[in-house]
């Protein structure tokens, strides 16, 4: 690609990351087919945040929209990373679980309905601790049932990424879509540094963070299914393709013997260059496929 056309493509790209949760959700649907459920004007907010002097948001940082993707029924649940770090509270977590369950009911009625969850989150909202954690457990239970009928697609685009308990939920999904800017991991770098020391993880080393958790690495080692540019049409195309692809024959989280043997084969006497796992675990890293 020449420098000139790369520049033109870059200028013409429509950043997905710069969109807020509501705009991201809307962008994934077939034009004119989406409507929001429990939007801001329904005013179902956190009962716990005002008690501790934190201003709530009327949608509790979770946007639920129903509509069509690729002509098929779908629900999109988008976490707002700018509100409380996209963390899961009683209401935001409850909205996601409820939406997944309603999609499952429609599948059982004979209406194939997929779910797309947009995860920009650090995990549990500590101001709601055990109710956030309980909600995440219920989201996981809902994903396990729904994914038998229709794909549950996780999209993590950045800048927050997907960490904490919700990274485990991402691990349960049928497919994971990431940008290069996105990160997916259970424990954030600061937490690892705090708990296990700076030699274990220097959280100021940005290159290291993306080398381990970044979208390109997760895709190349086979823990993500699509790597897209930060470009809204590309994200929407990837999601649409996966909706139409349907339920995978085996979900990644069910491939226990495979991953158990991969872990058993690792030389734990040293730290590894994350790229070592690309060759060991998959062919996704052998060429960079643009989806």
């Amino acid at each position: 690609m020449s420098d000139q056309s790369y520049g033109a493509n870059f200028i013409n790209r429509q950043s997905f990351i710069e969109l807020d949760a509501r705009e991201r959700a809307k962008a994934l649907f077939d034009a004119g087919t989406s409507r929001e459920l429990l939007g801001p004007f329904d005013r179902v907010e956190s009962p716990w945040l005002p008690m501790q002097g934190v201003t709530p948001q009327e949608d509790d940082g979770c946007v639920v929209m129903k509509g069509k993707i690729g002509g098929q029924a779908a629900v999109v649940v988008a976490l707002e990373g700018a509100f409380q770090g996209g963390s899961l509270g009683e209401v935001s977590g409850g909205k996601m679980a409820a939406a997944l369950d309603l999609a499952r009911v429609d599948n059982e009625k004979g209406i194939p309905t997929s779910a797309v969850i947009l995860l920009e989150t650090g995990g549990v909202r500590l101001q709601e601790a055990n109710l956030g954690e309980a909600a995440i457990a219920e989201i996981m239970a809902s994903i396990l049932v729904l994914r038998k009928h229709a794909p549950v697609i996780c999209v993590t685009a950045g800048t927050v990424g997907c960490f904490g308990g919700m990274s485990l939920a991402a691990g349960l999904c049928s497919y994971v879509v990431m940008t290069r800017e996105a990160r997916l991991g259970m424990n954030g770098p600061e937490v690892i540094e705090q708990e296990s020391g700076v030699d274990e993880f220097d959280s100021s080393d940005h290159a290291l963070i993306w080398a381990i958790d970044g979208g390109e690495q997760r895709y190349a080692m086979g823990l993500a299914d699509a790597l897209v540019d930060d470009d809204t049409p590309q994200v929407a195309d990837a999601v649409r393709r996966l909706v139409l692809q349907g339920v995978p024959p085996v979900h990644r989280s069910s491939q226990v013997a495979l991953y158990r043997s991969r872990i058993a084969a690792l030389d734990t006497s040293r730290q590894w260059d994350p790229r070592e796992l690309r060759a060991l675990w998959t062919t996704n890293g052998s060429k960079e496929e643009k989806r």
Binding site: P56, A82, F83
Partner: protein, 97 residues
């Protein structure tokens, strides 16, 4: 968290409701809805206490140019006066579209 309320005289019926913004650090969300009667009612919840006068100044200025009969709800996490002004304008624009 502080709760602040203001009322302003209003005349004009407003076509539809609008929502803008995010309660992120330094930002705010605004819910604007048409209201009955000739009053514009503003209810603010802010996590930054002690700025009632600043809020009043921004809103006084806003309502010298705006005459819609509305209920405005603001959830604020430390927006600057400039940011508040911007969000109010966005909300008005969205409600008139």
């Amino acid at each position: 968290m502080e709760q602040i309320e203001f009322n302003y005289p209003a005349k004009r019926k407003v076509p539809k409701r609008a929502h803008v913004g995010v309660v992120g650090s330094g930002d705010l969300e605004i819910l604007l809805e048409p209201a009955e009667g000739e009053i514009a009612h503003v209810m603010i919840r802010t996590s930054v206490d002690g700025f009632r006068d600043t809020w009043k100044a921004v809103l006084d200025r806003f309502f010298t140019k705006y005459d819609g009969a509305v209920r405005i709800q603001i959830n604020d996490a430390g927006g600057t006066p400039g940011n508040v002004q911007l969000r109010l304008e966005q909300a008005v624009e969205a409600s008139e579209r």
